[in-house]
């Protein structure tokens, strides 16, 4: 019998998501209101009949491990198989942080050897897409190489953000370029792989001697391409790697289209996630909602347009929310006016505040490379005092305990980060 086990890489720091990953791992960042990013990959696994999943974590894994629990929402609380979280650990052989994506495997080789399976499917916890991995596995079996990588067509202008594969007529990769300036191919590696188990172990062991920070994209794939041992599976659906804050914001708001490319509604098989006990959404008399996704537990008395609200958000009378993403349990005070803002969990916005208006051409002084596209980001548990104005491209975060920020306007591109969070 041939069996596939999945490994999900969920240890990345996700620095380019700015404050959103200040308190959580990237796979645990909320997406589409009620989901966490990792839900999409986990759902793909169980819908593809993979019932043994190992998750490699490392960076602030508390919220991620809390979310995953014993895997119940994905029916992965099983006696045989099921969900397992692999933290970096001390041991007879391994005793270090994971220093690269493939190094995480190196450090778990003793366990890997004991697993009963033929194939290892390596996935990322940072991707949003819906896929049936059985197609990938079928392709891999037919292609007859010991490894395969999933690739997706991207516009040529985006090639420099990905690893780009050139394939021959049989699907074997003949050339692999990491973030090329220009390329004749537009097949980007999705960072998902299938390996024959024994082959994975021997390759990782061999290359670890050469590279301490052993990485799939940087070391293993080029090595296999040189030897003609890896083929490329073309994935045809919607696929998104949550890389930058801008990409996250744009992909989120794209869900508001009448027919978005990511299928959440039409599908008979919903994305699986942790259930909660919020009461259903209440829309009050006088509220206005247009083009928005709004979760349970929300109470809307004001105006919401082109926005995504996670569970438990309150929008009071006269408040206006536009082009914004608001995470769990926030409250937007009376007559507050909010546009182009991403608000993390449990934030309290005082009445009459005005946030997100200004000159989008002034980038953030603190993180100019991530925050330069006309949004303001408010960190978890921040309290915004009433009446103040916060411009655009701002970063605002109160103290860890949920302190209020000073009652002072914040100009475009400026920031306020509480002392205990500065590093």
């Amino acid at each position: 019998m041939s069996k596939t086990i999945a490994f999900i890489l969920a240890g990345g720091i996700g620095k380019r998501l700015s404050l959103l990953t200040r308190f959580r791992a990237k796979p645990a960042v909320p997406f589409a209101g009620r989901y966490r990013i990792i839900d999409f990959t986990l759902t793909n696994c169980v819908r593809s009949g993979i019932d043994e999943v190992y998750i490699l974590t490392q960076y602030i894994s508390r919220s991620l491990t809390h979310h995953l629990g014993i895997g119940k929402p994905w029916d992965l609380d099983r006696i045989s198989g099921g969900l397992h979280i692999l933290h970096p650990h001390l041991g007879y052989q391994a005793a270090d942080w994971y220093q690269g994506t493939a190094d995480a495997f190196f450090q778990n080789i003793p366990m890997l050897k004991d697993l009963y399976c033929d194939r290892v499917l390596i996935l990322s916890g940072d991707h949003v897409y819906r896929a049936d991995y059985r197609q990938f596995i079928d392709f891999y079996e037919r292609a007859g190489k010991p490894a395969a990588v999933g690739v997706v067509e991207v516009p040529i202008s985006f090639c420099q953000e990905f690893g780009i594969a050139t394939v021959d007529g049989n699907g074997t990769i003949v050339k692999f370029e990491e973030k090329p300036e220009r390329s004749t191919s537009n097949l980007a590696s999705m960072g998902i792989y299938i390996f024959k188990k024994d082959f994975l172990i021997s390759t990782v062991q061999k290359l670890k001697k050469l590279h301490q920070d052993l990485d799939f994209g940087k070391h293993i794939i080029p090595y296999l391409v040189r030897r003609g041992k890896i083929s490329a599976f073309r994935f045809k659906g919607y696929w998104l790697d949550i890389g930058t804050l801008k990409g996250y914001y744009k992909a989120s708001l794209a869900l508001l289209a009448d027919k978005p490319r990511l299928r959440l509604y039409e599908s008979v098989a919903p994305v699986l996630t942790v259930p909660d006990d919020y009461p259903p959404l209440v829309v009050a008399q006088g509220a206005r909602i247009q083009r928005s996704l709004i979760c349970k537990g929300c109470t809307i008395e004001g105006e919401v347009s082109s926005s995504i609200l996670s569970p438990g958000v309150t929008v009071e009378k006269g408040a206006r929310v536009k082009n914004s993403i608001i995470f769990h349990d926030c409250s937007i005070g009376k007559d507050a006016n909010i546009e182009n803002v991403i608000i993390d969990k449990m934030v309290v916005i005082g009445r009459g505040t005005k946030i997100g208006f200004g000159n989008a051409h002034i980038p953030s002084r603190l993180q100019p490379s991530y925050i330069d596209f006309g949004i303001t980001l408010i960190g978890r548990k921040t309290k915004i005092p009433p009446g103040i104005a916060i411009g655009t491209n701002c970063l605002v975060c109160g103290s860890r305990e949920g302190g209020s920020i000073p009652r002072k306007n914040i100009e475009d591109g400026d920031y306020y980060i509480a002392e205990d969070l500065q590093s």
Binding site: A32, G33, R34, K72, P73, D258, L264, Y265, P270, V271, L272, T273, P275, D276, D277, Y278, P279, P280, L281, V282, V283, A284, Q285, G286, A287, R288, I289, Q290, R291, S292, L293, I294, C295, K296, I308, L309
Partner: protein, 401 residues
């Protein structure tokens, strides 16, 4: 012990395929969630649900009790249906008989008190206080009571009590009554007393246990002042549902969430041009039309130009373009074709429609229109007010300009 075996005849087709206690309520709950959540919040984690009528939906809903954290090694929730006991084999004949048929469970329990609840009521109650009251008064039975208006008294068991909270008279559903207090069907018994009292063909808790023990003052009454509604009929279901739009405290009480089985549906999606006012909208709904003063359960679709007013729509039903729904209850998986009218006109040709056998004079449903589960209504159909349309029916439409 939660009594959940009633047939709920007055709820007509809403209980054709489900137990009364499993009727959807408040946008995401089932009625029994209130009794179960009250128990769990009150620290009662050893629960039996006594079911016998159409229990499938109830069993599906409760499962192992996980949503209430009742999937426990010790205690937890079990669903008890009538079974063969050697020579005895019969349905639960009444409330006391249902307890008697499960007397082993009561006898083997280490608890010294037995709380008997009804699974078809919505209210928030901390049973701790009831237990304290019961222990303080030292009598074997405590019933929970509430003051009700004279016009309502014929629906209840009415109680007369003394100043020291002893029950001295009990009249079941009197035509009219001067007694102010109604029994809510919530009883707390000393276990040993109950074991004795159940002996010898006892059928009904009220007639066979409560009333016989009034004379020796064994029954105390505990007064409950909060909101409480018994979901016994279509008008009471409709009233309690729409009341949530005015007063949400039943589902938003701090520290007292109502636990229920969750869905995996995406958030509610509101399209350009939608208008929603004073309504509850559950996950997975997709709203393009107008919704006013209504409750939408998960996965409901409201297409452009459709208008839903003062209505309750159960999971996954679809209301197509230009349809008007007013003062109606639409069960699950119903498809209401475009340009139809449901509950809008007061007169029509009911004989041409697949009405439920118990669809009666208009006052039976107080003019509320009810559409049964899985029914398909073709475009342009007209379903007059107060009608009950069968489950799994086909309603022909007509072309409408």
């Amino acid at each position: 012990m939660i009594l959940a075996g009633g047939t709920g005849e007055e709820l007509s087709i809403l209980t054709k395929y489900r137990a009364k206690t499993a009727i959807p309520f408040g946008g995401r709950y089932r009625i029994i969630d209130f009794a179960l959540s009250n128990c769990v919040h009150s620290g009662i984690i050893d629960i039996a649900v006594l079911a016998q009528y159409s229990p499938k939906s109830l069993i599906d809903h409760i499962g192992m009790g996980r949503p209430w954290d009742l999937d426990r090694k010790s205690g937890g929730v079990s669903i008890l249906q009538p079974t063969h006991h050697g020579e005895v084999a019969q349905w639960y004949l009444g409330t006391a008989d249902a307890l008697y048929q499960n007397i082993d469970l009561i006898r083997n329990s280490k608890a010294d008190l037995v709380l008997v609840l009804s699974g078809d009521q919505v209210y928030l109650m901390d049973y701790h206080e009831l237990v304290d009251f019961h222990r303080e008064h030292g009598r074997p039975i405590t019933v929970v009571i509430k003051a009700v208006r004279p016009s309502q008294r014929s629906r209840f068991g009415m109680i007369r009590c003394t100043r020291d909270n002893s029950v001295i008279d009990f009249r079941e559903k009197p035509k009219s009554s001067s007694f102010r207090f109604a029994s809510l069907g919530i009883y707390l018994f000393n276990r040993d007393f109950l074991l004795n009292a159940l002996r010898g063909n006892k059928i009904d808790i009220v007639f066979d246990i409560l009333i016989p023990h009034l004379a020796n003052r064994k029954v105390k009454c505990y007064r409950f002042n909060g909101y409480w509604e018994d979901i016994g009929s279509i008008p009471s279901y409709y009233r309690a549902s729409l009341r949530l739009l005015r007063d949400r405290s039943l589902i938003t009480a701090p520290g007292w969430p109502i636990f229920t089985r969750g869905t995996d549906l995406p958030p509610a999606k509101f399209f350009q041009g939608s208008l929603v006012q004073n309504s509850i909208v559950a996950d997975g709904c997709s709203v393009k039309g107008t919704v006013k003063n209504s409750v939408l359960f998960p996965g409901v679709r409201v297409e452009p130009g459709a208008v839903i007013e003062d209505s309750i729509i159960f999971s996954y039903s679809k209301v197509w373009k230009g349809t008007h729904v007013r003062r109606s209850i639409i069960d699950k998986f119903v498809d209401v074709g475009g340009k139809s009218r449901v509950g809008v006109v007061s007169r029509g040709k009911p004989e041409a429609l697949p009405t439920a056998p118990d669809t009666g004079p208009r006052q039976r449903t107080s003019g509320i229109t009810v559409i049964g589960k899985n029914t398909r209504i073709s475009g342009g159909a007209d379903i007059p007010q107060g009608l009950i349309v069968e489950t799994h029916a086909r309603v022909a439409g007509r072309k409408r300009r």
